[in-house]
Amino acid sequence: MKTNFLMFHTITRIVSFIVLSFSIYLFFAGHNAPGGGFIGGLMMAGALILLYVSFDIDKIKKVIPFDYTTIIGWGLLIAILTGLNSLLFGDAFLTQYFEYYQVPIMGEVELTTALPFDLGIYMVVVAVALLTILSIAEDVS
């Protein structure tokens, strides 16, 4: 039986973009306000899972052709390398550096080494959440 999920699909198209952009907002807010890599990552995983649920798993797989295991590896690597970076300056592991810069359009922006660290966490969380759910969902026996 072929069912028609017109409502579901239309809403998903809109909602998933809102959730995705909110996830990116949370990720950047994370330094000095509530938010951060973990929350942002979970949010993004939520948006992607919404896509997987409303459309077909195989279809979304074509759209997002990433291997989540590799993403976990890269995420962890980014996080560690950010920490190791401080060893180059002779400080303790995971020492944080930050500086304020003037960027056109956005004005004064604070750039810190916490950001790439958080990016690593973000990638790991997205990939772990999706990997867990998909590994159960794809199992059709």
């Binding site: 306000a33 973990f38 772990v128 867990t132 590994s135 159960i136």
Partner: protein
């Protein structure tokens, strides 16, 4: 307020204990989830329910809350997230291979 919260977390942990002792694989997973919630609530309560501004550089307030329990709980949440994810997959595989989710039937015998 502290007393109320302690009772709440006590009830949650009691529910978790009940779920741990049930026979279904999935309910044990729910027990794990409940236990971690109860414990996180307990950490927050035992370190003192404080009122004050968030401990951030930008705020100018008289009193700040203690950031440590929050950091601890956040870490513990992340860890319990990973553990639960793993346990769910493991429970599913166990169920699939054994064809049952009844722990009584999964006991096994002494001389394997």
């Amino acid at each position: 307020m502290e007393i109320l919260m302690i009772f709440t977390s006590g009830i949650i942990i009691a529910v978790a204990t009940y779920l741990f002792l049930t026979r279904s694989l999935l309910r044990v997973v729910f027990g794990v989830v409940m236990l971690s919630h109860g414990v996180h609530l307990l950490i927050l309560t035992l370190s003192g329910l404080q009122t004050g501004a968030p401990p951030l550089l930008t705020e100018n307030a008289d009193a700040y809350t203690d950031p440590l329990p929050q950091a601890v709980i956040l870490t513990a949440i992340v860890i319990s997230f990973g553990m639960t994810a793993f346990l769910l997959v493991l429970a599913y595989r166990t169920y699939q291979d054994h064809g049952t989710d009844d722990l009584e039937e999964l006991r096994g015998n002494a001389d394997e």
